[in-house]
């Protein structure tokens, strides 16, 4: 059973090899959705010209930052168990998880608050919603470990 706890300056993520494999597969499945997600790459300006200039200056750095966070998540999951994360790595994980959750939610057509009530308890227990909940749990636990 997966568990996250704090030990000194580190966050420890204890999970079974099978659980680790599931998480890596989830990352593999969702990552290709990131490129087409509006929530993952939101506009900074309403004005098209200002937006183009902002993208020119910051777009590449933002993409690199996102890729680095996803790499941090993958490397952590692929390493020795339990996963041991310093705070910079925890931040990489929580950012990567946020991007994955945004892209998955957008793909599911989730667009406004209260979306949870649109689905039955059975739907919440099965993929793809269960996947979203799993990523939420992991992100929330990691955020708690930073506090």
């Amino acid at each position: 059973m997966a568990e996250i706890r704090r030990e000194g300056d580190l966050t420890l993520f204890q999970l079974e090899p099978k659980e680790r494999q599931v998480l890596l597969e989830i990352v593999d499945r969702i990552e290709p959705m990131l490129g087409s997600s509006h929530w993952v790459s939101p506009r900074a300006y309403g004005d098209d010209e200002l937006e183009r200039e902002f993208r020119r200056l910051a777009g590449e750095d933002l993409e690199r930052s996102r890729e680095a966070d996803l790499a941090t998540l993958r490397e952590g999951l692929a390493g020795p168990l339990p996963v041991r994360l310093g705070d910079p790595e925890v931040w990489g994980w929580v950012r990567a998880l946020n991007f994955l959750r945004l892209a998955l939610a957008e793909q599911l057509g989730i667009s406004e608050d209260g979306w949870e009530e649109r689905y039955s308890p059975r739907q919440h227990r099965r993929p793809p919603l269960a996947t979203l909940h799993l990523l939420s749990w992991l992100q929330e636990e990691l955020i708690d470990s930073l506090a």
Partner: protein, 96 residues
Amino acid sequence: MAAVQPVVTHGTGHSTTEERDRPWQVVVWNDPVTLMSYVVVVFRRLFGYDLETATQLMLKVHVEGRAVVATEPRERAEVSVAQLHAHGLQATLARD
């Protein structure tokens, strides 16, 4: 691997000094999936807010759909928006 933080070193466009110094608002918008606890820790990390201020701003985003989280000169505001985007938050710039 540590994450690369986006760096915006110059404001967009070619504006006068007066125009550049005019404050801009950094606006964060609600989305239905980002965790409230995440928004709070990001506000604290990026803007140095205490827990109470960060929580109030997060609730304003959640309830009203948007909140101005900082008012800064344009170049600084663009950096803030880029940092918010790097954390997966929906943020825009608006003239003060």
